[in-house]
């Protein structure tokens, strides 16, 4: 039974959400509109203009933009994959076990996130050149761990800590092996944290600018660096810039759409939290 008060509250909530959505989405709509405008029309503020595909042709057909996107997918995707493989077990250990200096270790991992990039990147440039990691996929995937790993470990750790250890014992007693317990029972429970932090880690790695700017050049050329080309020194090509950024957002958008249904906590076999 819905009372009048509840109905009014419901309407208010929808209105507030729409107000925020307008604020959040309008600049994106504006950007997509600019991507269809010629350079002479960029500064018009009416919604009527002569749409053109010239910017798309210029960016997508007359440059290696597809290759830059692919490079970004490889390094950002690779970075997240490595972070999941080494980070999820680490998060589990930091949540489940009690061992001396545990909190210090966790803080050590966190501290990589606030190591100022500019401080790290110049010495790293010299080290990378000595190790042969300069301008390589592996080199960027490695340095991106500073961006993706702390976030993933700290978010996922919290989700592991929410799961009672008793249900793990119970499953052990019932004769399930450790990987059955891990993949069938624990993974569904940590899923919202795992997929949301993986998406955020992917986005931050994707948007990273300082690292690829200084640690790579020709062989590996992520989009964030490539986009800067459209901001030429004397004449900025806003239309092409808008195309470049619209297209460069697509992989993250696809990622977000894919994980959407996993953002809701999964049901693991009969397990309840707490």
């Amino acid at each position: 039974m819905k009372t009048g008060k509840q109905k009014a509250l419901n309407i208010l909530m929808n209105v507030l959400l729409i107000i925020y959505a307008v604020f959040a989405l309008f600049p994106l709509i504006w950007m997509v509109m600019i991507s269809f405008k010629s350079d002479t029309e960029v500064f018009t503020t009416t919604f009527a203009f002569h749409p053109t595909l010239a910017n798309y042709k210029e960016v997508l057909l007359r440059s290696d933009y597809g290759r830059y996107i692919l490079d970004s997918v490889i390094v950002s995707g690779g970075a997240v994959l490595v972070s999941i493989i080494v980070g999820v077990p680490a998060a589990y250990a930091l949540a489940r076990y009690n061992f001396p200096r545990k909190e210090d270790l966790a803080f050590q991992i966190l501290s990589y996130k606030f190591a100022p990039e500019i401080l790290v990147v110049l010495p790293l440039f010299m080290i990378y050149q000595k190790l042969g990691l300069y301008d390589s996929y592996l080199g960027l995937i490695w340095v991106y761990q500073l961006i993706s790993l702390p976030l993933l470990i700290w978010v996922v750790r919290g989700y592991f800590e929410d799961i009672s250890v008793e249900i793990e014992y119970a499953a052990q007693v019932d004769g399930y092996s450790w990987y059955q317990i891990f993949f069938k029972m624990l993974v569904p429970l940590i899923k919202p944290g795992l997929v949301s932090s993986a998406l955020l880690a992917f986005i931050f790695a994707w948007n990273s600018f300082t690292f690829p700017l200084i640690l790579s050049s020709n062989k590996v050329y992520p989009v964030t660096v490539a986009i800067m080309k459209y901001l030429g020194t004397d004449s900025a090509h806003y239309g092409q810039l808008a195309v470049a950024s619209t297209v460069s957002a697509l992989p993250a958008v696809i990622f977000a759409l894919c994980i959407q249904k996993h953002l809701v906590r999964g049901l693991s076999f009969g397990a309840v939290k707490g």
């Binding site: 959040a24 504006w30 700290w154 986005i203 986009i227």
Partner: protein, 310 residues
């Protein structure tokens, strides 16, 4: 609270076999090995702060703490500390409040609108911050921007936005909020989705009000996730560079010269890398202290939340 696998007191810990004791370290080790290499550049940077290191000079020599002394004697240093803190605190607080509010709306309104917006509202994060800032710059342009046209309808003309020292900070913060609130929304929404159902079911039977349920159940159980979001957002906001640089390069005047921007300017524009590093290390120290404090709060909240869920 659930008992930990290895027991809680030290004497018990010492009786477990060695192989069990080292297991957690072995599991954490790959993460540390991968990232530990970063300590080398960090140590090198501290050394450089004691030299006259510059890209222009072929060699560098030890000059003691004079870079540090110069920085502390520089009036612009204290201004930069203030701007970094103002920017970090105001933008983070706004993003936390708006992000929490929007996440709750998305969670409570289980209609088509909220389902679509759950995906769409994350999009601002996916645009490179520099490009996002340029789009805002076009929108805020004080003669031909669309926002100006909108303000004209309300009788406001030539609002200066980033062009005047008085409104520049507000302008970068608006852009920062636009980009990064999505970060909070996503983490808090995931936190809300993973709350256990049973405490709410028993509260329903007890007949508590919605507000009572929110402050006594939702908030305490959500707190650990909120602190994680706060931690990562605040650390990044204190370091923010891209938005300010793309918008005004630190101007007008030095009204937006934060610690990061001052350091970049000294390091790259004036080519004095050695002199730039102390600014970054001060920033690092501020973030370190803030992070320690937030982590402590997070650990306490996590323990309390675990108790609530029993």
């Amino acid at each position: 609270m659930a008992a930990k696998k290895n027991g809680n007191d030290k004497s018990e810990f010492n009786t477990v076999p060695f192989s069990t004791r080292v297991r957690p370290y072995l599991i954490v080790a790959p993460s540390l090995i991968i990232t530990i290499g970063i300590m080398v550049p960090f140590a090198m940077a501290i050394w450089y702060s004691l030299t006259n290191y510059s890209f222009k000079l072929p060699t560098h020599k030890f000059i003691g703490i004079s870079n540090w002394v110069n920085m502390l004697g520089d009036a612009s240093f204290w201004g930069a500390v203030k701007i970094s803190l103002l920017y970090g605190v105001i933008s983070t607080v706004l993003e936390m409040l708006i992000g929490l509010g929007v996440a709750i709306l998305l969670n409570n309104l289980n209609n088509g609108l909220s389902k679509v917006l759950r995906v769409l509202l994350v999009f601002p994060l996916m645009i490179a911050p520099v490009t996002a800032t340029i789009v805002w710059q076009l929108m805020l342009n004080s003669s031909v921007g669309i926002v100006e046209k909108l303000l004209n309808k309300f009788g406001v003309y030539n609002f200066p936005w980033a062009a005047a020292p008085g409104t520049a900070l507000m302008t970068v913060i608006i852009i920062d909020v636009w980009i990064n609130t999505a970060f909070i929304i996503l983490l808090v929404l995931a936190g809300l989705q993973s709350l256990p159902k049973s405490p709410f079911e028993s509260a329903k039977i007890d007949g508590g009000s919605a507000w009572f349920n929110f402050t006594n159940l939702t908030l305490p159980m959500l707190k650990p996730s909120l602190y994680i979001a706060l931690l990562f957002r605040f650390m990044a906001a204190l370091q923010e560079y891209a938005v300010i640089f793309a918008l005004t390069k630190g101007g007008p005047g030095d009204s937006l010269m934060s610690l990061s921007l001052t350091a970049y300017q000294k390091g790259f524009k004036f080519q004095k890398f050695g002199a730039a590093i102390p600014y970054i290390l001060v920033l690092w120290l501020i973030i370190n202290i803030a992070a320690k404090k937030i982590v402590k709060l997070q650990r306490t909240a996590q323990k309390q939340a675990a108790g609530l869920e029993e």
